[in-house]
């Protein structure tokens, strides 16, 4: 059997397909449900890797005996399961919005988890059984596993540019079947009709026969909009950045104008809604060249800076469908540089609906850049009168705390400092957010602005800031120069005419605040005063939500929950307090808790005394647990932390995530292969220590390197990033197969058990990395990883 060795190419295809499946599921569930529960389901489903190790540790002899059938069956089951399990999962009536109201919802969630678990379990069975069967070729198998996964990570991003996510799932399912066919060929059997049948099945999987449509939750914005009479989908397109649906509603206009004053004259022109992932909405507004019809644009809080500046040169960060560009045009801006990350959104405005938008993005004064906002500012040498950070996220997602887990490099101290440096001497930075009651975003933005002004050398930040709010938006202004009396008079008159509230300007009194949109107390005013006062730090500590400024090392602007407040919020949740809970963070905690409990059971199950596998009497078990748990966790810590660090260099989330992930996996795969020639015991210890040391060194070196290369084009940045990752990743590929080598010599059953430990640790490690980063920053994540590698070096079982 398998005289030619392990089915390496089949393993590489399977690994690539599985990683692509993981990334794709995240996309799919972000569309049909919401990102935070998607994170939970998929993280937990990855425990399938650990579970396969446990299962094989309990049934190793049988699997070794029937390896070929076992491998092929699992590969086929992955292929079929990838698509069938998802389709079943999307038919489960889970409603994330009802979790605390409806006791059935956790059951539905459990069912989805079990469905998604299956494909990962099958893939892991293939790889782990290969390790177990061919224990002399661990390094080669692991290297094909990792390199395949790396290629998968890159391929899925490319694939999502070409086909919609539901079709991409067919491709992944086909890859599963293809891997089975390849395994058959690698097996080298005389009879090869089975490989032919599998190849035909692969083609069928790619055909429309296996096609399906996405069942989006009826509570998402897109489906709510489509309920209205005569609404019509005009365009559907997709990329890894989002699933975009453009909708027209001729009978009941959208009239999207966040925070519009009640005193606004005239009406809002016809609009087309662009929904991203069926929820977050962006509007294209009908523009026929006559600006006088656009008077409403002067009655939003974001119009304030235009009253302090004459014919400004403007940079709009997050141009979307063009609302802020139109506002800048309305206010006779001399030049408008609009930055939008999603090229497809730009194409919709610039090409597909160019007539409707009145060629907005082709106006002589407007230049549109398809770029990530922070990266664009970093690389820019220009200075502006106004930098406008647009209201990007949707109100409902923002108010429900769904972004708590999302890193955001636009709302950090460093980002604000950079924006300030790109202002002309009298220039203004303007940031508009949805307001929440009680204040969270508003005060955190204010605290971040103070820290940024101080970091930029301003000693009297209270003279450089102003903030106003409407019914549901707030706008914060930061000036490089101080606000003078003239500017303050204009600001007051702007607010008076629009019934907007003054939150802060230099010299404001409490009586002036909270007049039109009255809160129980002038919380925004009081908060701003406290943040500018001598007791600022104590105020932030005492406030019931986390309003400490976000930084590049802890880029979680939308995380507001404090553990101290949680009991009170849970107590109030059924009595009107539910919106105060922050779902993203709570889901992370529950996911970690479930992952730890399940991991604990999976790791300990094969140790049950009396089993015939010999594990119980194997000796040195605790060393094996520590070693493989430490390297599994540390690998994820470093991978996740460096994706974030490189994001600040490459700036584009897609380039950063796919390039860094691919480079990490491919170089680790090469490291795995090369390490087969290394002398075991001493090398493993050395590798662990060098990885720890190197990652710490990188923490200090990378910012210096990135700073010196900040302006070079991204095409050069990518190879530099790859070169920087290579040595670290190369070494990181060694500890797992070297460790397996050592333990397999003692007892073969250690191989699947170590795989189980490593698989479980990877899942818990990924969740823990996010949690650590939220609370302590990525510096601590990497430092902890270094400690874990050192610990692994010490815990390595003796030969």
């Amino acid at each position: 059997m398998f005289d030619r060795g392990p089915p390496l190419f089949s393993i590489a295809i399977l690994s690539g397909a599985a990683l692509a499946y993981e990334i794709l599921l995240m996309r799919l569930f972000s569309i049909i449900q919401w990102h935070h529960f998607a994170y939970m389901m998929i993280s937990l489903a990855l425990l399938g890797y650990g579970a396969s190790g446990t299962m094989l540790a309990l049934a190793q002899r049988w699997v070794q005996k029937h390896f070929f059938a076992f491998f092929i069956t699992n590969a086929i089951l992955f292929g079929i399961g990838a698509i069938v399990c998802f389709r079943l999962a999307q038919a489960v009536p889970f409603n994330a919005l009802e979790v605390l109201w409806d006791t059935r919802q956790p059951l539905w969630l459990l069912l989805i988890f079990m469905l998604l678990f299956m494909p990962f379990f099958c893939v892991a069975n293939c790889i782990c059984s290969a390790f177990s069967k061919f224990s002399g070729q661990l390094h080669r198998i692991y290297s094909f596993d990792l390199i395949g996964a790396g290629i998968g990570a890159l391929s899925i991003i490319g694939l999502l540019f070409i086909v919609p996510p539901n079709t991409a799932l067919q491709v992944i399912a086909a890859m599963g079947l293809l891997s089975a066919a390849v395994a058959w060929l690698e097996y080298g059997a005389r009879s090869q009709w089975q490989a032919l049948v599998l190849s035909i099945a692969t083609i069928v999987m790619l055909s429309p026969v296996a096609g399906f449509s996405l069942q989006v939750s009826q509570f998402k914005g897109l489906n709510q909009a489509l309920q209205v009479l005569n609404t019509e989908k005009l365009d559907q397109r997709s990329s890894p950045l989002g699933w975009l649906t453009t909708v027209a509603s001729p009978s009941v206009p959208f009239r999207h104008a966040p925070g519009l004053s009640l005193n606004s004259p005239g009406s809002i022109p016809e609009q087309l809604a662009i929904f991203t992932d069926a929820d977050s909405v962006n509007m294209i507004t009908r523009y026929e060249g006559s600006l006088h019809k656009m008077a409403y644009l002067d009655f939003q809080t974001s119009a304030l800076p235009y009253h302090l500046l004459d014919h400004p040169e403007v940079m709009v960060l997050g141009a979307g469908g063009g609302a802020d560009v139109l506002q800048a045009l309305y206010h006779r801006s001399n030049r408008i540089d609009a930055v939008e990350i999603n090229p497809q959104v730009v194409d919709l405005v610039q090409e597909r609906f160019a007539d409707f938008a009145g060629d907005l993005y082709l106006q002589p004064r407007v230049s549109v850049f398809k770029s990530e906002a922070r990266g664009f500012v970093t690389a820019s040498r220009d200075h502006y009168d106004l930098i406008q950070v647009a209201l990007l996220d949707s109100f409902s997602a923002s108010s429900a705390g769904l972004y708590a887990l999302s890193e955001n490099y636009l709302y950090t101290v460093e980002a604000f400092s950079q924006f300030l440096h790109h202002l002309l001497p009298e220039g203004v930075l303007s940031i508009t957010r949805w307001t929440k009651t009680p204040p969270r975003d508003g005060l955190k933005t204010f605290a971040t602005a103070i820290a940024a002004l101080e970091a930029s050398g301003v000693t009297d930040p209270e003279q450089h800031m102003a903030m106003i709010r409407s019914w549901n938006t707030s706008t914060l202004l930061l000036k490089r120069g101080a606000f003078d009396d003239h500017a303050i008079d204009k600001l007051k008159s702007f607010c008076r005419l629009r019934s907007f509230d003054l939150v802060y300007y230099p010299g404001i009194t409490r009586q002036e605040a909270n007049r039109y949109n009255q809160l129980q107390e002038p919380w925004f005013f009081d908060g701003a005063q406290q943040l500018l006062g001598p007791q600022s730090a104590a105020f932030m500590d005492d406030y019931k939500f986390n309003i400490h400024p976000a930084t590049d090392d802890r880029p979680y602007f939308s995380h507001f929950l404090k553990w101290r407040t949680l009991p009170e919020l849970l107590e109030l949740s059924q009595r009107g307090g539910m919106p105060l809970l922050e779902w993203g963070y709570l889901v992370l905690i529950v996911t970690l808790a479930v992952a730890l409990v399940v991991s604990f059971l999976l790791v300990l199950l094969p140790l049950i005394p009396g089993r015939s596998n010999g594990l119980w009497s194997g000796g040195q078990n605790w060393r094996i647990i520590i070693y493989f748990a430490a390297i599994g966790t540390a690998f994820m810590f470093i991978e996740i932390a460096f994706i974030q660090k490189f994001l600040l260099f490459l700036h584009h989330p897609l380039y950063a995530a796919s390039v860094v992930l691919c480079a990490f996996l491919v170089f680790a795969g090469m490291g795995s292969k090369a390490s087969s020639r290394w002398r075991k015991q001493t090398t493993i210890r050395g590798a662990g220590l060098v990885i720890g040391g190197l990652s710490l060194l990188y923490l200090f070196l990378l910012p210096l390197i990135f700073d010196s290369l900040v302006t070079i084009p991204v095409v050069f940045k990518i190879p530099i990033a790859v070169i920087l990752i290579a040595p670290l990743a190369f070494l990181m590929g060694a500890p797992f197969p070297l460790g397996l080598d050592v333990v397999s010599k003692k007892l073969p059953v250690f191989i699947p058990w170590a795989w189980a430990i490593n698989g479980c640790a990877s899942v818990a490690g990924a969740i823990l990395a996010t949690l650590l980063a939220i609370h302590f920053g990525f510096l601590i994540v990497v430092t902890t990883a270094a400690v874990l590698y050192a610990l692994a070096a010490l815990a390595l079982p003796r030969s």
Binding site: T103, L229, P253, L566, P579
Partner: protein
């Protein structure tokens, strides 16, 4: 320690009930446990919630008339049949078409804040299944209600008619422009999502009248915006949380 205990007990409750939920704790309607009894229990529960929120609404109890009506309107008639057993739980429920029926506590609170009088004419934007309109109809002279989704408008019209709420008129239209033929209104309630307060609705409010907008994602109300027009026609907006919560602690 106390906090952690509360936290863990909350989560344990959710998950344990979840596991047992379908088979063990599903409340069944039996002869001895009629809808009427469940409704009275709900009224007591809402009264308890209100008492705990008293600091914010400035009184310990809601208008007696509002509570009485809450105890008489058959909420189960306004939710899909498969959810009848949940109709008297103090929670929002889905009614199809991506819409929900609000939590009774919120309905009671909003109705109280609208200060409905027996001679009032009220406009509602977002009929849904018609429950809020039914509650209001027992407290005021006439309710006009506008629903944007045709199917919901039709079913709510039939339902309200069958149940004898004859002083409610429903139409399928865009609520943004209100119902000028019947304006001005003593009170207006807008349960449909909007990025801003529709100015035409404010114009259709009588001097001294109140316009109420609950704001928040589905199944939640983050804040209640109360637009009040005084005798001179001046507007003030109060933004209330439906929960008694103060973000500041300590000396600040």
């Amino acid at each position: 320690m106390n906090g952690l205990t509360t936290l863990s007990s909350q989560f344990c409750r959710v998950f344990h009930l979840g596991i047992l939920g379908l088979f063990l704790i599903t409340p069944q309607v039996t002869a001895t446990d009629s809808y009427q009894q469940m409704r009275q229990r709900l009224v007591l529960e809402v009264a308890g919630d209100v008492a705990q929120t008293s600091g914010y609404i400035g009184k310990d109890t809601l208008d007696e008339r509002v509570m009485r009506v809450l105890g008489t309107v058959a909420r189960h008639q306004f939710v899909p049949p498969e959810l009848h057993y949940l109709a008297y739980e103090n929670r929002p429920l889905p009614i199809g078409h991506g819409q929900t029926i609000s939590q009774p506590y919120i309905v009671a609170l909003m109705t109280d804040l609208l200060e409905p009088g027996p001679d009032d004419v009220v406009l509602e934007i977002g009929t849904g299944s018609g429950y809020q309109a039914a509650i209001l109809s027992r407290l005021v002279k006439q309710v006009y209600s506008i629903e944007i989704i045709p199917e919901l408008a039709t079913s709510a019209t039939e339902r309200l008619h069958q149940l004898g709420f004859d002083n409610v008129e429903v139409k399928n239209a865009d609520g943004y422009y209100g119902w000028p033929e019947h304006a001005p209104f003593d009170a207006i309630i807008v349960t449909a999502a909007s990025s801003h307060i529709p100015p035409p609705l404010v114009q259709q409010l009588k001097p001294g009248g109140v316009l109420m907008i609950p704001v928040g994602p589905a199944f939640q109300v983050q804040q209640l915006s109360m637009v009040r027009k005084n005798a001179e026609g001046e507007i003030t907006i109060r933004q209330l949380m439906p929960v008694s919560f103060v973000p500041f602690t300590g000396e600040h």
